[in-house]
């Protein structure tokens, strides 16, 4: 009987330790599976956002870049036109601001 008791004690200890380790591993796996599920949801969310722009993400980027490039080129032309018009109008305004008082004085001198 003494022998049996002597064997029962480590058996019990081993059983507790083993069960605990297996349970811990299963718990860890459950956590990881939960993270995987979360990842699936996130991936679906990202894919939905990408799908708004098109099916092939790389083509979408290329398309946007090409369109940006075209608009940038148009903007460069527009900028140049705006710059020319601004300069032309500013020059005319500046010239008129000097010319007008003299014109008014001439009109006043000769309107009788």
């Amino acid at each position: 009987m003494k022998t049996l008791r002597a064997l029962a004690a480590p058996l019990l200890l081993l059983s507790v330790v083993s069960c605990d380790k297996a349970a811990r591993i299963r718990q860890e796996r459950a956590d990881i599976e939960a993270r995987i599920m979360q990842g699936h949801l996130e991936l679906r969310d990202i894919d939905a956002k990408i799908a708004v722009y098109g099916r092939d993400a790389e083509l979408v980027v290329i398309d946007f870049d090409q369109r940006s490039q075209k608009v940038a080129a148009r903007n460069a032309v527009l900028e140049s036109e705006v710059s020319k018009l601004t300069s032309q109008c500013d020059d005319a305004d500046s010239a008129l601001s000097k010319f007008r008082p003299r014109l008014d004085a001439y009109r006043a001198q000769n309107s009788h």
């Binding site: 591993i25 796996r29 894919d47 946007f64 000769n110």
Partner: protein, 291 residues
């Protein structure tokens, strides 16, 4: 037959077998759990890599879209600015055209009324007196008088300032200047021409001086514009460097920098053209003044 003294031995052996089986069973359970855990970890790693890649792709799309939106907003802004400037241009065109036409009509009327009207005695700057003088002809640089002693053509620099001003003559005459403003405004390409509207040397000098002032103003504006563009290019270079450090997508930035560099090149050409124009005007002025 049955030796009772061997019962503990049997029990001991049975217990050892149970313990060994138990240990083996539990070790197997742990191994299976570990294998599943490993598999799950592998799936998680793979999933995280996929998510990272998709995130990068989404970020690239959003960045490219943001760049496109920015350019589109800029385009709308420039279109609006251009429309405003075109309105301003039309308004100025109206003002300039009406000013020129009213001035031309007024000068014509004043000169017409003055023809064959006796102005009385006119004292020239040289001291000569034209008695009972009447204007018979107007030129850009001279007046022809019929007076008591005959007919004389007098250059505008010999005339009294009041007469010069009344008949819009000489270097400060308004009509040639108005025509110059009009021609430059309606056809800006004429701005590059150093040929003034009036054939009169004094008027030419006045026109060239005005042209020089305008060119100097344009040069100042163009220099400021060029500095602004160069600063923009430097800022974008900084942005590209920081984007490269972060491993981000730099194509739209490089594209933008190329456009700005192109504009800097145009601004440089514009500056060179203006400097050349100013040099030409200066040379022309010098030639006229020493002539």
């Amino acid at each position: 037959m049955f030796d009772e003294s061997k019962v503990p031995v049997f029990l001991f052996i049975a217990a050892v077998i149970v313990v060994v089986s138990f240990v083996a069973h539990h070790l197997q359970l742990v191994d299976e759990a570990n294998a599943l855990l490993h598999e799950s970890k592998h799936k998680l790693t793979s999933m995280e890599e996929t998510i990272t890649l998709r995130r990068i792709m989404l970020a690239s799309i959003e960045k490219a879209k943001a760049a496109f939106d920015k350019e589109s907003v800029r385009e709308s802004e420039l279109e609006r600015k251009k429309a405003e400037l075109e309105t301003r241009h039309r308004r100025l065109e109206g003002i300039i055209n009406s000013s020129v036409e009213s001035l031309r009509a007024m000068v014509g009327k004043v000169r017409q009324e003055a023809l064959n009207t006796t102005l009385g005695d006119i004292t020239l700057k040289s001291g000569r007196i034209l008695r009972a003088a009447k204007i018979s002809k107007f030129d850009d640089s001279s007046l022809t008088f019929i007076h008591a002693d005959g007919v004389s053509t007098v250059t505008t620099d010999q005339l009294d300032a009041e007469l010069v001003s009344r008949y819009d003559l000489g270097e400060s005459a308004l009509l040639p200047q108005a025509l110059l403003i009009q021609s430059r405004f309606l056809d800006p390409s004429q701005s590059s021409s150093t040929q003034p509207v009036s054939g009169d040397r004094a008027a030419q000098i006045a026109s060239l001086t005005a042209r020089k002032t305008t060119l100097e103003h344009q040069l100042e504006t163009a220099t400021q514009h060029k500095s602004k563009l160069e600063k923009q290019a430097r800022d974008i270079d900084q942005q590209i460097k920081s984007a490269e450090t972060q491993g981000a997508y730099t194509f739209p930035l490089r594209n933008q920098r190329d456009v700005i560099e192109g504009n800097v090149g145009m601004a440089n050409k514009d500056l060179q053209r203006l400097e050349l124009e100013i040099a030409k005007v200066n040379a022309e002025l010098k030639r006229l003044q020493t002539h």
